[in-house]
Amino acid sequence: MFDLIMRSMTQRKMRTVLTIFGIALGIFAVVVMGGMSEHLNLTMDKSLKLLANDIEVKPDGTFGGVGTLDESKIRQVKRVPGVKDAYGVLITALDPEDGGGFGSDMVFGVLPEKQMKDAKLTSGRYLIPGDGYNVVVGSSIARRFNIKVGDELELKSKSLQRSSSITNKRNVSVVGILEYTGSFFDSSVQTPLDMAQKFYKMENIISSIYAEPAFGTDPNDLVKRIDLSVEKVKSKSPEQLRKEAEGTLVIISLITISAAVLAAIIGGLSVMNTMLMSVSERTKEFGLLKALGAERKTILLMTMGEAALMGIIGGITGILAGAIVVYSLNGYLESMGSALFAITTRLVMIALLFALTLGIVCGTYPAYRATKLSPMEALRYE
């Protein structure tokens, strides 16, 4: 059976190659687009995990971005019943001339004692209270700037208003390097909060507050209480943050995946077209096979097998091509700081299954047509 399928495929080499190429292109799109969405998923997932259970308190009205709060708000948050502790974080872009945003390098001014230690160190140490101009950097930053513990990193700032050029520069020493987490920590620079406030000339200013709920306190209730008792802030529980992030991710995934699926479906249609053409070209052949006593299922298997095989070969080609492109793009992007794609086993399985299904589904109708041919009609066909 397999030899007959191979024979039929190699008989029409050009067409087979073009069809496989069509599928491969579609699956390539699935892998690349899917890889992007998988990477976003993983990053978001890991980032949220590292954020633990703290409630995020941000100035009301900032949507997604970074706003500013007065440090006095920390005390107000602390006073809310059910809050065990609260601390502020100052977030700024490492390169002030690069707008910042998801995936870009950020400086986190943190209290050394509140430093998140879920991200392990590969070398050096965490920040300690009393650290001055010292920083702990994420893995991407370390790789990109080729930094080792003890090296210096240049921080730049510009005063927030009306300035277009760098107004201040300073070298800081790297005391620790974090291991790769796949989260935003990889492109983070952590430094003591007081130093960050001083350097960026943002004394008494923070970007957001993290509140630890007391044991037994429902974070969702606490969020409401904080918003009611502290003015001009908006708090979010870990659950809300997760939901928000997931909502965004779903939309991104939908856009990327549907573009990819569209490409793959076009590939599938080309399989269908090829198979229909092949079946009508081989009307006589199928009629003959029937006259020779071939069962319907044999003919069905031959045609569907051919379509499925083209699907699988196209799928594997697409996945390989996608993997090569993603791998080299990631290599390049990582040298620039952040990876953009992740090819997960799940993604490969989905892509392969998708290619196979596409082949089979699009081969079904042509195969059905082939089995329906009356041998008599088929043999008269000249």
């Binding site: 024979r7 096979l289 006259a291 020779l292 006593g293 071939a294 009356s374 000249e382």
Partner: protein
């Protein structure tokens, strides 16, 4: 209409009086728009084992329709076909492939070899459908191709063979599963006169070895060399003639 009574005395070939094929009141009516067309109208006859029978008649007389009913390629409107006492016209659609494999060997006007397969493989595929083991398929294919005089051409593709050679491969293929009946539809229709003789001689030789063969033809030169001629006209049998000493006929 028929003169079955003469069976035993006719021809010099091995007609042993055992009907391998029985056709009873076979009728096929097509609807052409709203007008019924009687392609076959109440046709009955028997064919004995080892007979070399030709069916002749003008175009549209129903001879090809008859052949396709016997070959289970088409179903009659009424009547029955028995091969080896099995009523094949009662067979379910799912049983048709098995009956075709086991009982019928087809030879077509345009040879209908699979162009991608060589001579050997063309025989092999027919036996593969019947589940013959690989080693045996190879042996038999070689044996049959040698028998039709193509033992030195087994790996040739149809495109590398002449029309006559292709038809010989097709005949070998039809014989591959040792069918009860060999059905040949205009087997000499697409070959020249010289090749025609080769094909007819081959069929005669097979018949002498006991193979039942039915040839549909409009070539009287071919028909004259068979030991029985059934003439069809307007879907009916217009003549059924047993011939003596066919080889002596011009």
């Amino acid at each position: 209409m028929s003169n079955k009574g003469n069976n035993g005395n006719n021809g010099n070939h091995a007609a042993n009086g055992e009907p391998v094929l029985r056709i009873r009141n076979l009728t096929k009516t097509y609807m052409q728009g709203k007008i019924p067309v009687h392609a076959l109208n109440d046709v009955s006859f028997d064919v004995n084992k080892g007979e070399l029978l030709s069916i002749v008649g003008p175009s549209g007389s129903g001879k090809s329709t008859l052949l396709s009913m016997i070959g289970l390629l088409d179903m009659p409107t009424d009547g029955s076909v028995f091969i080896d006492d099995v009523e094949i016209t009662k067979a379910k659609e799912s049983e048709a492939p098995r009956i075709r494999r086991e009982k019928i060997g087809f030879v077509f006007q345009h040879f209908n070899l699979l162009s991608t397969l060589n001579a050997m493989e063309n025989l092999d595929i027919a036996m593969r459908f019947s589940g013959v083991p690989k080693k045996k398929r190879k042996e038999r294919a070689f044996e049959l191709l040698t028998q039709v005089g193509l033992g030195d051409r087994v790996t040739h593709k149809p495109s590398e063979l002449s029309g006559g050679q292709q038809q010989r491969v097709a005949i070998a293929r039809a014989m591959a599963n040792e069918p009860a009946i060999l059905l040949a539809d205009e087997p000499t229709g697409a070959v020249d006169t010289k090749t025609r003789e080769v094909i007819v001689e081959l069929l005669k030789g097979l018949s002498e070895k006991g193979q039942t063969i039915i040839v549909v033809t409009h070539d009287m030169e071919v028909a004259k060399q068979t030991n029985r001629i059934i003439t069809m006209r307007d879907g009916k049998i217009a003549g059924d003639e047993y011939r003596k000493g066919v080889t002596e006929n011009e």
